[in-house]
């Protein structure tokens, strides 16, 4: 920091001197103490002296005098600590006159941050000022509240701020709204109750207050657009009035009416109209109007235009508007103003996925932007190219990106772009293998050690696992080996550590593929790497690991041992271990041939992971025998920890049910002990995870044991490092796209030609035909592709319903006392079907009896179902539901009854679930994960009709709803039992001792409560099976002894046994 200060200080005297000629400035310096402070600071030479200057000035004057605080602010601004003045600032805010208060508040808001302790002292002052009759004081208090008040101080001021919403002065109302918005941001729960007041603010007669409330609505709508669809009309009306110039003239900025307000509204409309045709239709007109009005050539109209474009491309598409919008994008892109060009590129990036033709239209501009002098523009252009990449142009685009990367110095850009290049290189079918290897090499050398660690990991995995054909894989690996060998020939000092690690791994693993290459040779070259002092210990580990893989021949072994010997006494444990392992391998020939079989392609072909770590069982049992504490899984440890806490700060609802956690502490055996017993029962090694394929898929499985033993340091090495990127590979890249890469031509015509060539290579494959179309003037608008389905499961029964119900009224038969039973089935998606989401089939029936279940549709009759429970009821509507357990789905039948005397109209029923999003619902895992968190997924909904206000209801789903019996024979059961890896065992107390056949009773209870299938009962043991609706099995084994029921659950899914156990326990207790 000191250098900045010094620069500042050296700069200031000149500034002051030059200003002496200005009369006003001279007066300033003479009269103000700040002036003298500034002057004296500029005369200082070191920071230390500066700090002395910032010492409290003598005398009690400081406490009240305002200029002192301005001076303190100045000192802080320059980076000197002025903490002594904090308390005085607070005092000033508290006790001073209005004017001094202002300085005090300002100082406080600049000095203190949200978690500063002194802030507590301010609460009382703020409270007092909020109640003041002086407007300025209230304003100041509101400002400071919105600037620095932390979460836990909000309740103190909330009621007062809330009151200010009805203040007679609009400026106060406006500030209060913004303060509440701030509260909403940092503590949404605390302002839940005043959402209605936000609506009032939206309808406020002052446009300023309305504008302020839009901030809140933007945020609220972003979070849940569904709940605010009803406001669309209001926003459209407001925008119409603003655009139409209904606001007073002083809202105009460069004769554009309230531009910032317009932008805010457009943003809100975009959120509301997204993937919603009905809502979108409401806003087409006003959007059209906005586009039309925004024709004056000024910055701010372009700002509005840009928001408008974004909105048009976000909402449900309308071809006319899209056409106009496309023209507007042209205005941006072709503008000579660089800011507009930037936004044009951004807009193109946004829309190009929907309409690649737009990029084609502007291809020459894009090419020009690629060579623009501003790196920001270049970067944005590359982002655009990244979006339009396809299999045909990938090599050119990647080349452009790499060119940019070589010049870029910014770390952030490098990380981001390197990630993108790697993604592209892996994603597209490679033009040729050599291109892939070279691109990856370039990435490693440029991205160096700042790039995401998963890039080298993915690359190595790709190499190791290979693709479809063996020959291709062999070639790819061979290419990699070749290129790395030639790299090692040159100077390696500039290569990033990550790259060296990749090189050594590949050479260790695949160098045998190259014929005529002696392992000893490779070892020697790798050994040279170690001579470099700049190389880190992690990389050394990688190199040693590679060497030990190469020790097949005695020659290589000899060399490797020589190198490794140096490190056997190294201080770094990982490195030392690697070296010692290598030595050991050298001594023990048997071990070597067993561990390092010669010429096997890929380590993973023969590698079997013993996921249960059963080979450690002996060790574990020994340790247990010596009195070691049994292993506890992480979640159990967590529970214990949380129990040890004295105070519980978490809401109770979030923790696991108490009964479960309590018993898991006392009764449950540890999984390790279980796996021990499982191995004792003749199942010592788990079968390979994927018996079918000879390749082991390593995604998600952390590789701990490898060819040469324990490999933790390898994983660790891939984490983080840092070194300079180098451009060694620059020349080798030419060949990838040499046609378009020709060096400079002399004449302009030729340059143009070159650009066109580049364009044709860049935009190939984008249009409707693959041939490059350069002179494309006809703007061929393609209609936006279909929108994605809405992500939340919401069942709109509105349209179908309303139709039916209004039909019934048009018959003019007042349905007195009728029950209108509407069945709405849904939920094939709830249970894992990938079919269409929620097809509301509704039918209206009439009848006098209220026997709801009999009204179930024929397909659901006869299935197991829960009792019908009433969810909510109002004056005229009552809504009840029951769950029907279909074999492959959970069907929710909803009954709507008319309980009033008259017919009802415009019934709408809306069901949604925040927790169950569609993509997750495809698997029952999501359901499981909710139970793990102690949460039950809830369906929420609301029902309304013309004669009754909206009523909301909620329905909780439980794991039990998703469990179905699994019919198995005892043999099948036996086979499955052995193959499942996750198990839980627990003893449950059986309360009714007097019963004759405890087991029988317990099994029946479980069967009834949980829909389990009893497979067999043998003596005192019973086995049962069940499955989740998606077909994931879980097996139970019950055994009674002396009033206890020992339940043992096994399943291929990790958490299922845990969850199910909880329900078993409940079922037994409730029996």
């Amino acid at each position: 920091m000191s250098d900045v200060v010094e620069k500042t200080l050296t700069a200031l005297p000149g500034l002051l001197l030059s200003l002496d000629s200005q009369p006003g400035a001279a007066k300033l310096c003479a009269t103000s103490r700040l002036g003298s402070l500034v002057r004296s600071i500029t005369e200082l030479t070191s920071k230390n002296v500066g700090e002395e200057m910032a010492e409290p000035p003598a005398g009690p004057l400081f406490h009240t005098e305002k200029p002192c605080h301005v001076r303190a602010i100045y000192c802080e601004m320059l980076g000197y600590e002025a903490s002594f003045s904090y308390i005085h600032a607070i005092k000033l805010a508290q006790q001073g006159s209005v004017l001094e208060k202002r300085v005090g508040y300002l100082a406080v808001s600049l000095f203190l941050h949200e978690s500063h302790d002194l802030l507590l002292l301010l609460v009382n002052t703020v409270l007092k000022d909020l109640q003041s009759t002086n407007l300025i004081e209230v304003c100041m208090a509101l400002t400071v509240v919105s600037q620095i008040f932390p979460k836990d101080m909000i309740p103190a001021v909330l009621p007062l701020v809330e009151d200010k919403l009805t203040h007679s002065k609009e400026i106060i109302r406006r500030k209060a709204v913004l303060a509440l918005y701030k509260f909403y941001l940092i503590a949404p729960n605390q302002v839940q109750h005043i959402h209605d007041k936000f609506r009032k603010a939206l309808c406020d007669k002052d446009p300023g207050v309305m504008t302020a409330s839009l901030h809140i609505y933007l945020k609220l709508i972003k979070e849940s657009p569904e709940s605010y669809k009803d406001l669309t009309d209001s926003f459209v009306t407001i925008l119409k009035q603003v655009v139409g110039g209904k606001l007073p003239v002083d809202f105009n900025y460069h004769s554009v009416p309230a531009p910032w307000l317009q932008m805010q509204l457009l943003r809100i409309l975009a959120l509301l109209g997204k993937e919603d045709q009905r809502t979108s239709e409401m806003m087409y007109e006003v959007l059209d109007e906005s586009l039309r009005r925004a024709e004056i050539n000024h910055n701010i109209t372009y700002a509005i235009l840009y928001e408008c474009l974004k909105t048009i491309y976000t909402i449900h598409p309308k071809s006319e508007l899209l056409e106009k919008a496309a023209k507007c994008i042209g205005k941006f892109v072709l503008s000579p103003k660089i800011n507009l060009k930037y936004l044009g590129l951004k807009a193109l990036t946004y829309v190009v996925q929907q309409d690649p033709n737009l990029a084609l239209q502007h291809q020459m501009t894009i090419i020009e932007c690629l060579d623009h002098s501003d790196p920001i523009i270049k970067r944005e252009t590359l982002e655009l190219l990244y979006r339009i990449t396809n299999g045909q142009n990938v090599s050119v685009i990647v080349e452009k990106m790499l060119d940019f990367l070589r010049l870029s110095k910014d770390e952030y850009t490098t990380i981001d772009l390197v990630g993108k290049v790697a993604e592209l290189a892996e994603k597209y079918p490679f033009p040729y293998n050599s291109w892939f290897i070279q691109t990856m090499n370039a990435i490693f050398s440029i991205g160096g050690d700042v790039m995401q660690p998963d890039i080298p990991n993915n690359f190595l995995r790709l190499l190791a696992e290979g693709f479809d054909s063996d020959e291709e894989d062999r070639q790819l690996r061979l290419l990699a080996v070749d290129s790395y060998l030639s790299l090692l020939e040159c100077d390696t000092s500039g290569l990033p550590q990550r790259f060296l690690q990749v090189i050594s791994w590949v050479l260790g693993e695949f160098s045998f593929l190259k014929e005529g290459l002696e392992p000893a040779d490779v070892v020697e070259r790798l050994g040279k790497l170690l001579d470099d002092d700049a190389i880190t210990t992690e990389t050394r580990c990688w190199v040693l690991a590679a060497m030990s893989k190469l020790c097949g021949s005695s020659d290589a072994l000899c060399k490797a041992e020589k190198v490794a010997h140096k490190y056997t006494s190294c201080l770094d444990t990982a490195l030392r271990q690697q070296a010692v392992e290598l030595e050991l391998l050298g001594r023990d020939v048997d071990l070597r041939t067993r561990v390092l079989p010669q010429h096997v392609i890929g380590f993973c072909v023969w590698l079997q992971v013993d996921s249960s770590l059963s080979f450690l069982d002996g060790f574990v049992s020994d340790a247990l025998a010596r009195g070691a504490a049994p292993y506890k899984p992480p979640h159990q440890r967590q529970e214990e920890l949380s129990q040890e806490k004295i105070l519980n700060f978490e809401p109770y609802g979030l923790s696991l049910p108490v009964s479960l956690s309590a018993c898991s502490l006392t009764d449950r055996q540890s999984p390790t002990a279980l796996s021990l017993s499982s191995s004792l029962s003749g199942n010592s090694a788990d079968p390979p995870l994927k018996a079918g394929s000879n390749l082991l898929k390593l995604e998600g499985v952390k590789r701990v044991w490898g060819k040469q033993g324990y490999l933790p340091e390898k994983q660790a090495t891939e984490e983080a490092l840092a070194q300079e990127p180098s451009s060694i590979f620059a020349p080798s890249h030419q060949q990838a796209c040499s046609e378009s890469q020709q060096t400079t031509f002399s004449t302009i015509v030729e340059q143009d030609q070159e650009k066109r060539q580049l364009a044709s290579s860049l935009f190939v494959g984008l249009g409707s035909q693959n041939a490059p179309c350069l002179v494309r003037t006809v703007s061929q608008m393609s209609v936006k592709p279909t929108q994605k389905r809405s992500k939340t499961t919401s069942i709109h029964l509105t349209s179908a319903f309303a139709q039916n119900l209004s039909d019934s009224t048009s018959e003019a038969v007042p349905a007195v006392g009728n029950t209108e039973v509407v069945e709405a089935s849904e939920v094939s998606s709830l249970s894992g079907g990938s079919g269409p989401l929620a097809q509301p089939s509704s039918q209206v029936e009439r009848g006098l009896e209220s026997d709801l279940p009999s009204r179930l549709p024929a397909t659901l009759v006869g299935l197991l179902r829960s009792d019908v429970e009433e969810l909510c009821s109002g004056e005229s509507l009552s809504l009840s539901a029951c769950k029907v357990f279909d074999a492959d789905a959970l069907v929710l039948a909803i009954f709507l009854s008319n309980i009033s005397d008259s017919s009802i109209q415009e019934v709408s029923c809306l069901i949604s679930s925040e927790q169950l999003k569609v993509p997750e619902m495809c698997s029952t895992f999501s359901v499981l994960s909710f139970y793990l968190n102690g949460l039950n997924p809830q369906l929420e909904g609301s029902v309304s009709c013309a004669s009754q206000a909206t009523q909301s209801f909620s329905l909780t789903l439980s794991l039990v709803d998703f469990i179905r019996p699994l019919p198995l024979t005892t043999e099948e059961y036996g086979k499955m039992w052995l193959s499942f890896s996750h198990d839980v065992k627990q003893n449950l107390m059986l309360l009714k001792h007097e019963e004759e056949d405890q087991l029988e009773a317990a099994l029946t209870a479980l069967k009834e409560k949980l829909c389990l299938h009893i497979v067999d009962v043998i003596g005192a043991e019973g086995i049962m099976a069940c499955q989740l609706v998606s077909g994931r099995p879980c097996l139970l084994h019950c055994h009674t002894h002396g009033g206890m029921l020992a339940i043992w659950l096994r399943s291929p899914i990790a958490d299922l046994p845990d969850c199910l156990l909880y329900h078993c326990q409940k079922a037994i207790q409730e029996r």
Binding site: G79, L202, D206, G208, N339
Partner: protein
């Protein structure tokens, strides 16, 4: 939120860092909370100045990313006036061109308040500059973009300052000054009467 609105002077330039993040992202929030160390703040300012000052005249006024300002979601938007740089740091929900014009409004307001604003005004009236800024941007949200309105507010406060300075020991006049300070009511009612929002009928919020 306005996390750090401190100007710093580097060479002859001044650099105003204004953070306009809506603290929705926890990362940004954390940053805003952890701005405790002066060093960090100074580092950000220095970095920003470094980035901004080396840019040519004929490049765009936006700067993206940068690890210090909180990653890809945030960007710097700056304007260059002679020896002064005005830099705003905003998140992706703000309109770039809109902010550029907001800076313009800010500068024009400064110009009106100080009558031909110069660097020294900004140095010697740091507090006033901050007050003007607070009228425009409150808690990170754009509050007022109407220059006349801002000046009205600031003038009302300045009037009070003058009268207070003049009276020193006359409380009666101070009281009247405070009373006179009632802001002039500008007739600016917009007719949004036909918005049919029936508050009691709306579904309750979650």
């Amino acid at each position: 939120m306005v996390a750090g609105s401190r100007p710093t002077s580097c060479r002859n330039y001044r650099c105003w860092i204004e953070r306009l993040n809506h603290i929705t992202e926890s990362k940004t929030l954390k940053f805003a909370l952890e701005k405790t160390t002066e060093d960090m703040e100074q580092q950000i300012i220095r970095e920003t100045f470094h980035l901004v000052s080396k840019r040519d005249e004929n490049v765009c006024n936006f700067l993206e990313g940068g690890l210090l300002i909180g990653g890809s979601d945030n960007k710097l938007i700056y304007r260059h006036y002679a020896t002064l740089y005005f830099v705003f740091c905003v998140d992706s929900s703000e309109s770039e061109l809109g902010i550029l014009d907001l800076i313009q409004v800010f500068v024009e307001t400064l110009d009106k308040c100080f009558e031909n604003v110069c660097e020294l005004d900004l140095i010697f009236h740091v507090d006033k500059v901050h007050n003007i800024l607070a009228e425009m941007v409150m808690g990170g949200m754009v509050l007022e973009t109407n220059m006349n309105e801002i000046i009205t507010q600031v003038d009302a406060q300045n009037k009070m300052e003058k009268s207070e300075a003049g009276i020193a020991g006359a409380p009666a006049r101070a009281v009247s000054a405070v009373k006179n300070m009632n802001l002039p009511e500008i007739p600016r009612n917009i007719n949004i009467g036909d918005i049919s929002i029936k508050v009691p009928n709306l579904p309750s919020f979650k």
